[in-house]
Amino acid sequence: MGLSRRDFLKTSIAASTAATVGMPVAKQAAAAVKASEAGWQWDKAVCRFCGTGCGIMVATKDGQLVATKGDPDAPVNRGLNCVKGYFNGKIQSGKDRLTQPLMRMKDGKFDKKGQFVPVTWEQAFDEMERQFRRVYAEKGPTGIAMLASAQKTIQEGYAFNKLFKAGWRSNNIDPNARNCMASAVAAFYSVFGTDEPAGNYDDIEYADTMVLWGANMAEMHPILWSRVTNRRLGHKAARVINLTTFRNMSSDIADLEIIFKPQTDLAIQNYIAREIIARNAVNWDFVNKHCVFATGPYDIGYGMRPTDKFAFPAEKDVQERERRVKLDKYEAIAQRRTEGEIVEQKNTANPAAHWLITFEDFKKAVEPYTLDFVAELAKGDPDEPLEQFKAKLKQLADHYIDPQRKVVSFWTMGFNQSVRGTWVNEQCYMNHLLLGKQSQPGNGAFSLTGQPSACGTAREVGVFCHRLPADRLIPNPAHRAFTEKQWNLPPKTLNPQIGSFYAKILRDLEDGSVKWLWVAVNNPFQSHPNINHWLKAARELDNFVVVSEAYPGVSAKVADVILPSAMIFEKWGSYGNAERRTQHWRQQVMPPGQARADIWQAMEFSKRFKIKDFWGEQKVPGLKAEGYEDGKLPSVLDEAVKMGYSPEDSLYKVLFATPANLKVRWPDAVAKGHPNHVATLLGDGWFPEKALWQEYVPFTRGDGKDLADFDVYHGDKVRGLKWPVVDGKETGWRFNEQYDPYVKKGAGFEFYGKLFKAIPTGDLDKVTDPKPVSVAGKAKIFFRPYAAPVEQPDANYDLWFCTGRVLEHWHTGTMTRRVPELHRAVPAAVLWMHPDDAKARGLKRNDLAWVESRRGKVQIRVETGGRNAMPRGYTYAPFFDEGVLVNRICIDAACPISKESDYKKSAVKVYKA
């Protein structure tokens, strides 16, 4: 017994007296806060969640994370956070945090049908290794795969990329960024020849008109949205235009809201281009000096499988459109063909091909996109008068064309997650380039990213099946040779054949061509569309699935081995945000229990393999590349021995603990006393996160991607730096001589990206002269036509279905649903629909309904009010809720160029449950 009741009363009175009596409430509270903060240690870090990349400060005491705050010195957010960011300090302490490796066991042995049982790291790695060797022996480098992440740290991405591509000679590593940013990347490549935006967030404070194209920034980039709103309120001329398929939170401050039919953004963009030409508003000085015109094939399919062998019966009719498409009325006009024409999809294998055209051809191509045609096609709200919609489209064009207005176009998943995602990205540049409104403060097309390190980790490091670090590509022999040299590999170690992209890895798992899969920092079995296929592939087929996770989510549930991972502040790392800003942080606390950083998992597992296991001859089905025997990777072991390696050397020694890296010692003064559990566990005295960073940066230098040294980012005054960082200075606007040191003096602008800068010449339909013409230094203005979505509502599946995020939850909710406050705020996904649509189906708000597509069905509560207002015919439900796996419904069609899935356009029916 501690306090007596009387003591208790006395203390409680004394303590609470302050609340009602002694004034100094504020002072006292402040003092109490201050006292409670004694001994706190603060360090800078970055928010775990979206691509905005807000700077935060993290406080620790006695090895525990005690608080966070927005970093007032961070130029991105100036001390602010959204409500997810507010909970950075709580995401790692959920009650069911995974702290022990788990493996499916029966009778003391691994068993695919067994129950999860705690095991040691040793046991988990033993089984992973055994299965890996079995699969690798049977299938070679293409039989293994990793679903990687744009939420890995840059160093983790780099380590796994190297392990797969250099160690295991497999290009089957692809990130969830594929489903987030790939269309943006494909367009950056095709238009500029180099990835990532020209502008930066300061564009907001210079812009007059900010146009959102399928970007609900109010919820998805909350802090950027407060900057946009501030600009709108504080600058008299500022206007905000929201183009969307349903009314969302961003409409609240929009001056103009344009609700369009899914995928008709393609037509609206061409209408603007047509207007620019018709009103004689082309900035010819800019276009002549800095641009060329281009187009490509239209018959590129929809990124689905070429075969319907694995399709559910109900899927087959849509699947058929992968091979041949009957043009509807609008497509016929938009593509200058006839209605009802059957078009064989002949360019599914090479959808990214493109060639030069003349301006006259370009003008001819956009000619059909008149206001009347586009308005009739694109009007999304059946209850809006056509004339009103027309007036809005005209106003939109006015904004772009007005020479007095600086215009920024923002987009995210509305563009990117589309079966024509790359095209619509290219079209956005088309209009900015025609007007010369690009790469200047307040003028530019700005691709926002969804994830915290889509840019930094996935894109810059090249953690894709076709990429190598810093804009280098697997099929390019010079890029492979450069990478081999940097990595000190024998020539031809790298596999020249592009690996399987994200969706294909899951399809491979289903068709048996991949049998060993490692998933880390993403949750594909909840987040990838059409999951009924993949759930079955993981659990019912002879596949081995490893999932590195912090919490038991859906992917963990279908795994065979679960590795407990350290979370963001439990390890050293770095992220790169949407404005090319690279930000680093130190480890703040130790991971709980047996949880360990993914980078340690990669390196520790690599110790089990020798170079002779992989660097001998390997079969790679379908491999065809100059200098390689068909279907084979050559042995590079002799060359390796000449370079001083022994066949018995471990991958760990050759890839990670190299002599150069071992010289980067731990502990290091840059740590200021912070721990590093990875360095401690590896135990050989090096500092992996710093060594790998320093190994990586030479890839970026001299090529317009320059990153600074590790210690620079850890400087007390530095809050991230926007690359290219040249002579210690960051770059605000790329391709603009005033700001970008890579632009030739006197050029004004130079689109110096090197990829796809020699292309053939042709007309609107075909190549007429295959001889490549150099377009070095220029950006391409693409003509891309309107194409109908692959699946549209019909008599049976009569409603549109779209999925995405809500502000309160991050992606699949593995973290945010562990924060009780966020879970309480938004405990479950709901289906937004128009009240009339609900009523017609005998449903009202909060009723339980089935949502069913050709692929599957889920039960969900109906919402007819709230934050989104759907036009008749449209529904929306977020994907965070593992109790409502909406990806059972979504189609896994994708942009054939970028391979990014289209989450925004499935056809469903809704009925009472």
């Binding site: 009596v21 504020a26 705050k69 100036r78 549930k557 130190r586």
Partner: protein, 256 residues
């Protein structure tokens, strides 16, 4: 109201209490006392509600001491424990006597003598109904701000541009670190029903989580000499593998 009448009223209230000797009524009163009375506005210096109810002997001395007739004693059947002092600001607010006569009159410390400065009193907190506040609707009212005895501290004005005209908005904002809860603003509010009202703190105040600090409110230097915690489990050699681990139950329950 003259002194005699006031004394009479006090006696009536006390009389009710004294007369209430029937067992049923007594139980009723006990229940009343035991219950929290979240809406009661008490005189300056009152202890927290539960302690106040336990300490106040319902003598009425504070009521008699109040020169403004602000205070009254709760009658039977109301929301408050019978015989305890309270006030209704819209009728008569507390005028914040610098010598705090009510507190000085209190024989038990229910109105705590720890209150030395009347401006330190915390009777409640003013809250504004933004929808019906004339100032928040764009009129130039701001009576509450001007009438507030702690004007500029307890109530300040924030100016904001107004999208629909050239005329700025003047938003009154209440600050809990200075508001005494006197209710002069509520009394003065010119709307038919007061758009600013005083409520007990716990009825209106939220709390930001301890895990978060507002970034711009104080500078935080990066700690130059970080002291890591003693080695945690994961850097120590792995302990014996446990039989159970977090997440297992969910992972093993099937159902996908």
């Amino acid at each position: 109201m003259d002194v005699k009448r006031r004394e009479f009223m006090v006696h009536v209230a006390q009389g009710t209490a004294v007369a209430a000797t029937g067992a049923m009524l007594w139980l009723y009163m006990l229940r009343q006392e035991a219950r929290a009375h979240p809406f009661a506005l008490r005189p300056p210096g009152a202890l927290p509600e539960a302690d106040f109810n336990a300490t106040c002997i319902k003598c009425g001395k504070c009521v008699n001491a109040c020169p403004y007739d602000t205070l009254d004693l709760a009658a039977a059947g109301g929301d408050l424990p019978i015989g305890t002092p309270y006030f209704i600001p819209r009728d008569i607010p507390c005028y914040l006597c610098p010598d705090i006569p009510c507190m000085k009159a209190c024989p038990t410390g229910a109105l705590s003598p720890e209150l030395k400065d009347i401006n330190d009193s915390r009777m409640g907190l003013a809250v504004i109904d933004l929808e019906n506040c004339l100032s928040w609707r764009g009129l130039r009212c701001e009576i509450c701000h001007r009438e507030c005895p702690l004007k500029g501290k307890a109530i300040t004005l924030e100016t904001h541009p107004r999208p629909i005209s050239k005329h700025a908005m003047f938003y009154p904002i209440v600050h809990s670190d200075a508001c005494t809860g006197c209710g002069i603003c509520e009394k003065a509010c010119p709307t038919t029903e007061a758009a600013i009202r005083v409520l007990p703190h716990k009825m209106v105040q939220g709390k930001i989580g301890d895990h978060y600090r507002l970034g711009w409110t104080f500078d935080t230097e990066i700690t130059q000499d970080f002291k890591p915690a003693p080695p945690a489990a994961s850097s120590a050699p792995p302990a014996a593998t446990p039989k159970r681990a977090p997440g297992m139950d969910y992972l093993n329950e099937g159902g996908l």
